[in-house]
């Protein structure tokens, strides 16, 4: 057990370093590293490096928030997108932009995200348990309302359209070292908080009565996990828009290959999420010729759609266990 965890973390970290390096080296502009011009240096340090960091951090944050949502909702299909948190956080972000409070984007995103999350949680709870299918439906409801609100605001004001479209599709164009630092700080804080609760997180996967009888303060742990997961989502959405399904795909694949306990799953999800997102961003920057960029949300959404199909078709039985 011990061996698998550390092998995973070491291999994952090596992959992370490799993909990060690749992300810095590759881009729409090809750079000759033997003769760096001033423009090349600017591109590297003001565009690529902060961008690679941001994509890695967002990937880690979304994966971790996905793991936490799955623990708290006892539902393998929960993540920041399916719970409606991403869309409601994006709505909050758009409201902040429209009202000129651009500095408060993460705060607005957080408050709106928590409200959306609370709505989904209340709608989908039957007899103390979040029902997987009801949760997906409630997530659709909340996402639809949020998208409608965003569209309405888009209709009201033409000026901000391009930045609003950015929230809906997701991307790392707006990366700065400042944002990287804030997100890194938030991520570290959440990780330090959560790593003390690994054993308790595994125990809340039992029915509530068994978990309580095991000495876990279920209500407190649930509230804390919900809030920090919403916080991570809010920062991710605030800085990079809606990027769907990362928090669903990454933990699911990790569980499939054997990382199931929180003390393995949480760190592995962060590392793997970062690798996954840096690669996605790299593809989005280099896929189209002539330097055009594909919003990264489009790539993760198509991967996520395919993945959902895979779960529905191949792993129906497993869903049945959890239902």
């Amino acid at each position: 057990m011990f061996k698998r965890k550390w092998t995973g973390i070491i291999v994952g970290s090596m992959l992370l370093a490799l993909t990060a390096l690749l992300g810095v080296l590759k881009g729409s502009v090809s750079i000759d590293f033997s003769a760096l011009t001033d423009t090349d240096k600017n591109i590297l340090f003001y565009v690529r490096v902060p961008r690679v960091f941001l994509s890695g951090l967002v990937g880690a944050a979304l994966s971790l928030s996905g793991v936490l949502f799955q623990y708290v909702m006892k539902n393998p299909l929960a993540d920041s997108f399916t719970t409606g948190v991403s869309a409601s956080a994006a709505m909050g972000a758009v409201v902040a932009i429209m009202t000129g409070l651009t500095g408060l984007v993460p705060l607005f995103a957080f408050v709106a995200g928590v409200i959306g999350l609370f709505a989904v949680y209340r709608i989908s709870t039957v007899a103390g348990r979040v029902q997987p299918i009801t949760m997906l439906l409630a997530g659709i409801v909340v996402s639809t309302f949020s998208s409608a609100t965003i569209s309405f605001m888009k209709y009201l004001s033409d000026d901000a359209v391009s930045s609003i479209v950015f929230w809906l599709m997701g991307g790392f164009q707006a990366a700065t070292f400042g944002k990287d630092l804030v997100l890194l700080f938030a991520l570290l804080l959440v990780w330090l908080l959560i790593r003390r609760e690994y054993m308790a997180l595994d125990i809340i996967c039992f029915d509530d009565k068994t978990a309580r009888a095991s000495g876990v303060d279920v209500d407190r742990l649930r509230k804390v996990s919900f809030l920090v997961a919403a916080l991570l989502t809010a920062f991710s959405v605030g800085y990079a828009g809606i990027i769907a399904f990362v928090g669903l795909i990454v933990p699911h694949v990790l569980r499939l290959v054997g990382f199931r306990k929180a003390d393995e799953l949480v760190p592995m999800s962060m590392v793997t999420g970062a690798v996954f997102m840096i690669l996605n961003d790299l593809v989005s920057r280099t896929l189209l010729p002539e330097g055009q960029e594909l919003p990264v949300g489009i790539i993760t959404s198509s991967l996520g759609g395919g993945f959902f199909l895979y779960i529905l078709v191949k792993r129906k039985k497993e869903l049945h266990y959890f239902a």
């Binding site: 799955q70 623990y71 006892k74 539902n75 393998p76 003390r196 690994y198 054993m199 308790a200 595994d202 125990i203 996967c205 039992f206 029915d207 009565k209 068994t210 309580r212 009888a213 095991s214 000495g215 876990v216 303060d217 569980r255 199931r260 306990k261 003390d263 497993e318 266990y321 959890f322």
Partner: protein, 248 residues
């Protein structure tokens, strides 16, 4: 060791009241009664999962004043129909029963050793690598019982631990409980009255949220059971124990 007076607990529309009850160390007690008569609510109160009014003492200290972690070290409660929503293996499920004995950060070597012993004892060791969710109902129940016993608690509150378990394992489980009985308090909700009459020393009979009878194994008669379950029954006494049957 357990001392309850004027206990009242409410859950939704349901109200449980117990005027006076004392239980000593070394007793193995059967809790019987109709569905919805208050058996599980009673165990929830004893296990600290449900708030109550009245006096509840363990070893002369007020239960409410005990540290929460100490409560769960002292008492192990097995709820009815436990379920799990993540694909953990059986060994980890049983190991996690020792959570209140840890510092909350990691399980120690001793926890692993004790878990192995308990699992072998309850004949679930061969299931250790299986995913819990793929087990049969009876296997799950035995694994969860092993999980509850793994805490090595002085007070065991077991809500229908024998339901869904095959005959051989039912007998073996009762034997294990009897071995544990000497320095513990064991309360078991049970529906197999014949088995209870043969193996248990004392009966707490619940009806409509009240403790109707508190009887020893020698005192309990067919009329008591009849009153508790609203049916006419009789005892058939045999050298191997007492059997119950319905009188037409």
């Amino acid at each position: 060791m357990l001392d309850l007076r004027d206990i009242v607990a409410k859950r939704a529309e349901f109200r449980l009241s117990i005027e006076s009850l004392k239980i000593n160390r070394g007793e193995m007690i059967a809790i019987v009664g109709n569905n919805g008569s208050g058996k599980s609510t009673f165990l929830s109160v004893l296990g600290g999962l449900l708030s109550y009014s009245g006096i509840y003492r363990i070893n002369d200290s007020e239960f409410g004043e005990l540290d929460k972690k100490d409560r769960h070290r002292l008492i192990s409660l097995l709820p009815q129909e436990g379920s799990l929503s993540m694909p953990f293996d059986v060994f980890y499920v049983v190991l996690s029963g020792r959570f209140p004995l840890t510092d909350g950060r990691c399980y120690e070597e001793e926890d692993y050793l004790f878990t192995e012993r308990v699992m072998k004892w309850l004949d679930v060791w061969h299931l250790r690598h299986r995913e819990f969710v793929t087990l049969s109902g009876g296997e799950k129940q035995r694994v969860l019982l092993a999980r509850a016993l793994n805490r090595d608690a002085a007070i065991l509150l077991l809500d229908e631990p024998l339901s869904g378990i095959d005959l051989r394992h039912q007998y073996e489980t009762v034997e294990i409980l009897k071995q544990l009985q000497r320095d513990r308090i064991i309360l078991v909700v049970i529906h197999d009255i014949s088995l209870a009459l043969r193996e248990f020393d004392r009966f707490l009979c619940f009806k409509d949220g009240r403790l109707l009878y508190d009887l020893s194994g020698d005192e309990i008669e067919a009329e008591h059971i009849g009153t508790v379950f609203d049916i006419k029954v009789n005892f058939l006494k045999h050298e191997n124990g007492v059997f119950i049957y319905r009188e037409e």
